[in-house]
């Protein structure tokens, strides 16, 4: 954003006139060394130490270009000679940038904690629909895993600096405009920036909720000026990054017979020679078909669109930003149910809106009213992915004359009934109101201000559904007039229901209140800041799809007090102390409130006067800063397994003892058999329960070189958790009590982050290149369970344990010579395991940690961006390392219950001929022998990857073109997501969580977009 403040001019001669002026920075201080050029000429000048310049030979119609490293380039049309004053705004990478911190903003140069900011414009480069996905790879310290690409269900699970606590309890706190809210459905074009708070200095003020890090999403606000209208439209094509490949019908039959023979040579093979022949020559497409179900059911590609209209501007009374967004994303399923009047494809539509208005009520009062939200519609039919993986290619021809064919001889499977079983339409309304009041109280004490915030959110969801059960048919031969005639015999009736409306987990409401006094003032070179803040938060009718909540009728409540002091001497010595005092309903009186202090300090060495003496005025070193922070935060949340229902439950009021719950049909009695309700003893309650404690340290070094053209930051961090809330410290079964929740586990997490950037220009080419790298490793120090081979302390939370495979037995003699494995004898083709503990037998006591954790320890990203004249280009690579995948389900057990066989199994399975190259044991059809399917290194695969996450190529239309349409700027671009992936897993997308790949595939997106501004 560049502004021309004033201009005056003098007429000049024909061969050009001379221009003079001054260039200032945002703080109205002169900028030296700014290059000032006339666009049509290659020569120009630069500003002196007082920021002044003088340039001759300008003509009417010329364009002046001001450029300076670390500042945004500014162009100014020359209408006449004279003197002009120009203010260059700093690029956000510069140290002058103001960053969002907890409950406020701070100048980046004075920040002493660990935080990173991603600009909304960066996020908007990803042609994805989900904001969480857009963050992947763009900044160090944030680790996101996307589980599925299904429209409307493609959320990411985010960890900041890896995991330090168990499972779902490790999710960071997410605040949108200062209120706890989900953020992934927000339109990226509404987002000003996303800040990730990582260490104790930045998160201690969130106290009991800050331990897992905090994500602050700030939406855009208007700025003074004429209304500016921006319209962006994107059209994209989505394709799966990778689809599963299964063997064809003939190979399936051969492999199945092989599997059966391995199990029991006496058994009659499932597929006779005649069957095999028919699969081979395709002579019987009805009973011996060969269907590639993935291809049968899925399209090659499918469209998506994103459109945003935004208007912003402002005057004396108010500034405003208003935006409307529309997203449409189609799924990959082909249509099978048109004649029933509905689509079976998955589609997602979302309308986002936002209206952020800031009113200058008085000279010292700003009142902001932000309304935001979305309404979406997610249309889903069945997800037949499981059925596809369960239906071998030679079982059924699928459809004949649009009738669903079921052959019952081998197995009555067909994926089409699943996708034809009707549809659900989920409508979600999320409406957020944020009202902020800022009152300067300079008339009381200079530098004092008061602010308050009111957040009110409402969430509502309804589902319309329609059940369809299509008739299925089986082909049978009937003797009609002495002829074997094929008829399609109907197996079940067709059923089409009306539209049902259902609501579940359907509403919630949140009321958040905050009030604060703030003091900021400079005394010469001393700058002092102080903050005292109170907040309270209640969520009514809490609901979450992935867990149930105890006492859903009682609102979840939080109370908090925040205090913060900052001191800064000449931007050289920085000190900050903060404290959060929070209360959680989960803990008993007396243990309910926790105090979480943090201190941090920073030293800008380059601001020391002696540095200039030491290194001279022309030093390449432009920034050298060290910061350190130490503090404590907490966690009060436990999502654990409900022992009664085995689902996940959000534990509340953990101190309450012996709660009994009613459960239906615990027993049946009577000659008429009636179910009776029982009353079930619940958790025993722990009166000693209190918050989980995180002690965090952070050390950081920041370096800038060559006028900050090169910048780098390195962080070393530790996050030591103690008193981790843990639900099952195992105690002897004889107690038979559902154990208390304890503060028992202990986890240590440490790691480092690097971020490097180089930006420069060569002639008209401006470029930047950067990278980030995060390593985080955690160790379980204590989990309340005695150490055993299956529970070895000192390893990662996501560590897999299992046996070490030594290979496969290649002969019966070899197997006989070996010891008993799991109290049984092995046969050729079985896995040979190592007797780790040397007790002469192989069993679960020989478990060792195998592979890397299933959550990556290493995450990195690299980006390149180029700008040449009207063209721009950017690339983002992203990758993960030190991560393993444990094969399970179909990936591990081919042909299981007539399930499919992955193509790769053909090469990997053990056979006497393939013994040398085998990567998995001999096939089995019955799986009666489970010896090969214990956790072991046989099933561990390297899941590290590198992918070209994002590419964008844009063209900015020149002014002459823009004039014709009355636009101020316009850009046409093409972009792509997940374009290339390099990995070792090969069979499924390496990011996909489901090990057996029963999920909708990850997506590749090819996008074309246009942005016009008026």
């Amino acid at each position: 954003m560049t502004m021309m403040l004033a201009s005056s001019y003098h007429a000049s001669a024909q061969n050009g006139f001379s221009l003079s002026g001054q260039v200032l920075d945002e703080e109205k201080l002169p900028l030296a060394g700014v290059s000032v050029n006339l666009k049509r000429k290659s020569s120009g000048t630069s500003t002196d130490n007082s920021g002044k310049f003088r340039l001759a030979g300008a003509q009417v119609g010329d364009t002046l270009v001001f450029s300076h490293i670390g500042y945004n380039t500014f162009e100014q049309a020359v209408s006449n000679g004279g003197s002009i004053q120009v203010v260059l705004t700093a690029m956000n990478t510069s140290m002058n940038q103001v960053v969002v911190v907890a409950y406020g903003t701070q100048k980046k140069i004075t920040v002493t904690g660990a935080l990173t900011t991603v600009k909304g414009t960066e996020l908007a480069k990803s042609p994805t629909v989900n904001l969480g996905q857009s963050m992947v790879g763009r900044t160090p310290g944030i680790i996101a895993q996307q589980k599925s690409g299904v429209p409307g269900g493609d959320d990411v699970s985010i960890r900041i600096r890896g995991a330090s606590t168990f499972a779902m309890n490790g999710e960071p706190l997410v605040l949108v405009d200062g209120v706890e809210r989900p953020f992934t459905s927000i339109n990226a074009e509404e987002v000003a920036n996303v800040t990730i708070l990582k260490d104790a200095a930045t998160t201690a003020v969130y106290g009991i909720r800050g331990a897992n890090g905090v994500i602050l999403v700030t939406t855009k606000h208007g700025s003074s000026g004429k209304p500016s209208i921006s319209f962006t439209t994107n059209v994209g094509i989505q394709k799966p990054t990778r689809l599963p490949k299964f063997v064809n019908a003939y190979d399936y039959a051969v492999l199945y017979n092989e599997a059966q023979r391995n199990d029991n040579p006496n058994a009659t093979p499932m597929f006779s020679d005649e069957d095999l022949q028919q699969y081979k020559d395709g002579s019987d497409p009805l009973f011996h078909p060969d269907i590639d179900w993935v291809d049968f059911m899925m399209k090659k590609s499918t469209p998506q669109t994103k459109n945003t209209l935004a208007i912003s501007g402002g005057g004396k009374l108010a500034k405003y930003f208003i935006s409307l967004g529309y997203i449409h994303q189609d799924g990959l399923w082909k249509e099978f149910n048109k004649r029933y009047g509905y689509s079976n494809n998955t589609t997602y539509r979302r309308y986002n809106f936002r209206s952020n208005v800031d009113f200058n009520v008085t000279k010292s009062t700003v009142f902001s009213l932000s309304l935001g939200g979305y309404t979406d519609k997610n249309h889903t039919a069945g997800n037949p992915y499981y059925q596809i993986q369960n239906t071998p290619s030679g079982i059924t021809p699928g459809l004949i004359n649009d009738q669903i064919i079921i052959n019952t001889n081998i197995t009555a499977r067909n994926p089409i009934p699943e996708i034809s079983k009707g549809y659900d339409e989920r409508f979600t309304n999320q409406f957020n109101v944020t009202a902020d009041l800022n009152q300067k109280l300079d008339f009381v004490v200079k530098g004092l201000s008061f602010r308050s915030k009111l957040g009110y959110d409402s969430y509502y969801r309804t589902v319309l559904s329609r059940d369809v059960s299509r008739a299925t048919f089986t082909p049978v031969f009937r003797n009609i007039n002495g002829q074997d005639t094929l008829i399609l015999q109907q197996l079940n009736d067709e059923f089409v229901s009306g539209v049902n409306s259902q609501t579940f987990n359907n509403r919630s409401k949140r009321v958040y209140l905050e009030a604060a006094l703030q003091f900021d003032r400079s005394f010469g070179k001393h700058k002092v800041g102080a903050l005292a803040l109170y907040n309270q938060n209640k969520q009514y009718w809490p609901s979450n799809g992935s867990y149930t909540v105890q006492y859903p009728e009682v609102a979840i409540g939080y109370l908090g007090f925040v205090g913060r002091m900052t001191y800064n001497y000449d931007n050289r010595y920085l000190l900050e102390a903060s404290v959060g005092r929070n209360g959680s309903e989960n803990f008993p009186k007396g243990k309910r409130f926790g105090t979480f202090p943090a201190v941090s300090a920073g030293w800008n060495i380059t601001n020391e006067p002696w540095m200039e003496k030491l290194l001279g005025p022309k030093t390449a070193l432009s920034l050298l800063k060290v910061t350190a922070s130490y503090g404590q935060t907490g966690n009060d949340k436990l999502i654990g397994e409900n022992p009664a229902t085995r689902g996940n439950v959000y534990y509340r009021f953990m101190y309450l003892p012996s709660v009994y719950e009613f459960q239906n049909n615990r027993v049946y009695f009577g000659e008429d058999m009636t179910g009776y309700q029982g009353v079930v003893e619940g958790q025993m309650g722990n009166p000693e329960i209190t918050w989980e404690k995180a002690v965090k340290k952070n050390l950081a070094l920041e370096v800038g070189l060559f006028d900050n053209r090169f910048s780098a930051r390195a962080d070393y961090f530790t996050d030591n958790r103690d008193n981790i809330l843990y639900q099952k410290p195992a105690i002897a079964h004889v107690a038979a009590a559902i154990q208390d929740v304890y503060n028992i586990a202990k986890v240590e997490n440490h790691g480092y982050e690097f971020e490097l950037n180089w930006r420069d220009e060569i002639g008209d080419l401006r470029y930047s290149i950067g990278g980030n790298y995060t390593f985080a490793r955690n160790k379980v120090i204590e989990n309340g369970t005695p150490e055993s081979p299956q529970n070895q302390l000192g390893n990662s939370l996501d560590q897999s344990y299992g046996l070490v495979a030594l290979g496969f037995f290649n002969s019966q003699e070899e197997a006989d010579k070996w010891m008993l494995q799991y109290a049984s004898k092995s046969t050729p083709g079985d896995v040979k395991y190592r007797d780790v503990n040397g007790d002469g037998k192989v069993d679960q006591d020989d478990f060792v940690p195998i592979g890397f954790p299933t959550f990556p320890e290493i995450n990195y990203g690299a980006n390149l961006s180029l700008q040449y004249k009207n063209f721009d280009f950017s690339l983002l690579f992203q990758g993960a390392g030190n991560v393993s995948r444990v094969l399970s389900g179909f990936m591990q057990k081919p042909a299981n219950q007539f399930g499919t066989i992955w193509d790769i199994v053909k090469e990997e399975r053990w056979t006497p001929e393939n013994a040398a190259n085998a990567k998995r044991p001999k096939l089995t059809a019955s799986y009666a022998n489970s010896i090969n399917y214990h956790n072991s290194t046989v099933w561990i695969r390297d899941a590290s990857y590198l992918r070209l996450k994002n590419v964008e190529f844009g063209y900015n239309f020149s002014h002459s073109v823009l004039k014709k349409i009355g636009a101020t700027s316009s850009r046409l671009y093409v972009s792509g997501q997940n374009l290339v992936t390099w990995d070792k897993l090969k069979v499924v997308d390496p990011e996909q969580e489901a090990s057996n790949s029963l999920a909708y595939p990850q997506l590749q997106i090819f996008n074309i977009g246009l942005n016009v501004q008026f």
Binding site: T408, N409, L437, V554, G583, E671, M673, G678, A735, Q790
Partner: protein
């Protein structure tokens, strides 16, 4: 306009200020009245009764007739007999738990600490905990008469005995908890008690329940399924039979457990134990028969058997002592035959080893060692004269299961085929299918009759057999008392009596075969074979019949060996869950595991 904004701004300010002043003390307190605790349970009989019901939540149940629906179906729906020489679960469905026994790959944690395994060790103690809670506090209930409270106490004592018995025959001696334990206050890291102590505690609890006048001999009608005094009597006999049997009644256990042999055997052989078992069984039979129980003996010899384990008292079952129930109209698909019109999966299949045990009605046996060739169009030829109990237990080729529905389970003479919707023996694997428990309900899909399978836990014939077996072992040669009991069971199903004059050993074999047939697929054989220390029987060989339809419409039944199975000596007793042993509080694992 500006005024409005000013107003809103001011109210926000007021809001902000009032939050500070109005920060209520109980903001984080749970509102009163939401929780329901143990005092509430015992404050009203209505609630206390629900705890009584909950004591039954982990009652024994072996008839999960379809694949586990995620709610903890034991063995994922296969019958435990399929882990013995009598059965095989459908091989191409790996989920069936009995495969692990067949392949010799039982892993300890699955076996005894998995809702889909054979047992959940901890559940026994959960039930025991509830029983002790009831014993401890039931007297506090203000609105129940003393007689009801007494009955609940006797019920709780019988339940404690039952759970220790279920633990004893699986694990041997186990930690003996004699009160409710409160973690944090009470020691919960208890060692295993000697087998004899566990047995004695079982008898002690049962005697206490039997002495309770509030405990009735039977509960019928709406209360059918509740424990009763007849069962307490019967359980005494059953427990005594176990400690008298070869597995436990010995000084040298099946494997040596150095220093701890008293955990897995009675430490000596005492023939007296057989006498005690016979005595308890005699007392139990006497108590039952003087309190309205009698063996089912209607004129219909082809149905008496079914009545005895499938019917309810109000349908004429006079011998059911205790039965449990679980599901109304469970899906039958997995149990049904393959092919039209059943389209099932043939989940549980009897082997020829069992089929060959059935006698013809004249006491002779079918010779399966030679191929049996039937006349044309008469597939059921070899089965025609078998024990009526066979027809009620097993489905066989050519059987008209219900009018118009034939069980065709053969291969054609030429290549087997997929696609002509013919019978497909190949994909069924075995020639026979379990019919017991579904008998009479195979046409349910058509008739829609309500099917509520009964899981019989003890019936009077069980006590007859216990009495006969224990008496035979305690006598030098079987006498008339032994024969009377067995022959009563055979006679009511139309079978001739066992002749007098057999030796003790001959009689033992006949008794074992009678247990096998009368209680087939009722969860007996797996543990009985162990009780008799007949582990080798598990090994097979396992036989089946190959059924070929010739072009002249005759059938050939040919015996063939399906497989051999391993049996390891440590299988005699279950392993304690390794996760429990790994708690390292001193729980001694059974040998071999």
């Amino acid at each position: 306009m500006k005024r409005i904004i000013y107003f809103i701004a001011l109210s926000t300010l007021v809001c902000g200020v009032s939050t500070i002043s109005g920060c209520k003390k109980n903001y984080l307190e749970k509102p009163f009245g939401v929780s329901f605790n143990e005092d509430s349970v015992f404050a009203r009989y209505e609630n206390a009764q629900k705890l009584v019901f909950d004591m039954y939540a982990h009652r024994p149940y072996y008839l999960f007739l379809n694949l586990g629906s995620g709610n903890g179906a034991r063995l994922q729906g296969s019958l435990l007999e399929c882990a013995t020489d009598f059965g095989c679960s459908f091989r191409l469905q790996p989920a069936y738990g009995t495969h692990k026994f067949n392949a010799g790959t039982v892993d300890a944690e699955w076996l005894s600490n998995n809702p889909l395994g054979e047992d959940v060790y901890g559940n026994h103690y959960k039930t025991i905990r509830i029983a002790f809670t009831l014993l401890e506090r039931i007297d506090e209930v203000p609105d129940a008469p003393a007689s009801v409270k007494e009955r609940i106490k006797a019920e709780a004592q019988t339940m404690i005995a039952l759970e220790y018995f279920r633990l004893m025959f699986r694990y041997g001696g186990v930690p003996l908890v004699k009160s409710r334990l409160n973690p944090g206050e009470d020691e919960v890291n208890l060692p295993r008690s000697p087998l004899a102590d566990v047995y004695n505690y079982i008898i002690e609890m049962l005697d206490a329940a039997i002495a309770n006048p509030g405990f009735a001999a039977r509960y019928d009608g709406l209360e059918f399924g509740r424990l009763n005094k007849a069962f307490a009597y019967g359980l005494k006999a059953r427990a005594a039979l176990w400690v008298a049997s070869p597995l436990f009644n010995t000084a040298t256990p099946y494997m040596d457990l150095p220093g701890h042999n008293d955990l897995i055997c009675m430490t000596n052989y005492d023939p007296q134990r057989w006498q005690v078992a016979a005595q308890y069984a005699g007392e139990a039979i006497n108590y039952c028969e003087t309190n309205g129980y009698a063996i089912v003996n209607t004129p219909d010899v082809n149905l008496n058997y079914t009545i005895s384990y499938q019917y309810r008292p109000n349908q004429g079952n006079t011998e059911a002592i205790w039965a449990t129930m679980q599901e109304t109209n469970p899906p039958m698909t997995t149990w049904n035959p393959r092919g039209a019109p059943f389209s099932g999966h043939m989940a549980n299949m009897p082997t020829l080893n069992l089929v060959a045990k059935y006698q013809n009605r004249d006491g002779s046996y079918v010779d399966w060692d030679q191929p049996v060739v039937t006349p044309p169009n008469d597939p059921t030829y070899p089965y025609k004269n078998l024990d009526p109990r066979f027809n009620q237990t097993v489905m066989y080729n050519g059987l008209e299961v219900y009018p118009g529905a034939f069980f065709d389970n053969y291969d054609g003479e030429t290549a087997a085929l997929h696609g002509k919707n013919g019978p497909a023996k190949t994909s069924s694997q075995f020639a026979h299918l379990v019919r017991k428990h579904v008998f009479g309900y195979e046409d349910r899909a058509i008739t829609k009759k309500t099917w509520q399978p009964l899981c019989m836990q003890m019936r009077l014939t069980d006590l007859y057999m216990t009495y006969a077996e224990a008496l035979n072992e305690s006598l030098p040669a079987p006498d008339d008392r032994v024969l009377t009991k067995i022959n009563a069971i055979r006679a009511r199903s139309g079978m001739p009596g066992i002749p007098a004059g057999l030796s003790k050993d001959e009689m033992r074999t006949r008794i074992q075969d009678e247990w096998a047939i009368e209680f087939a697929f009722e969860d007996y054989r797996f543990f009985d074979l162990k009780r008799w220390k007949m582990g080798d029987v598990f090994k097979g060989p396992i036989y089946d019949l190959r059924v070929i339809k010739k072009t002249d419409n005759s059938f050939v039944y040919t015996k063939y060996k399906y497989e051999d199975r391993p049996f390891f000596e440590w299988y005699y007793l279950h392993a304690f869950p390794p996760s429990e042993v790994n708690l390292k509080y001193g729980l001694v694992q059974n040998p071999g595991w």
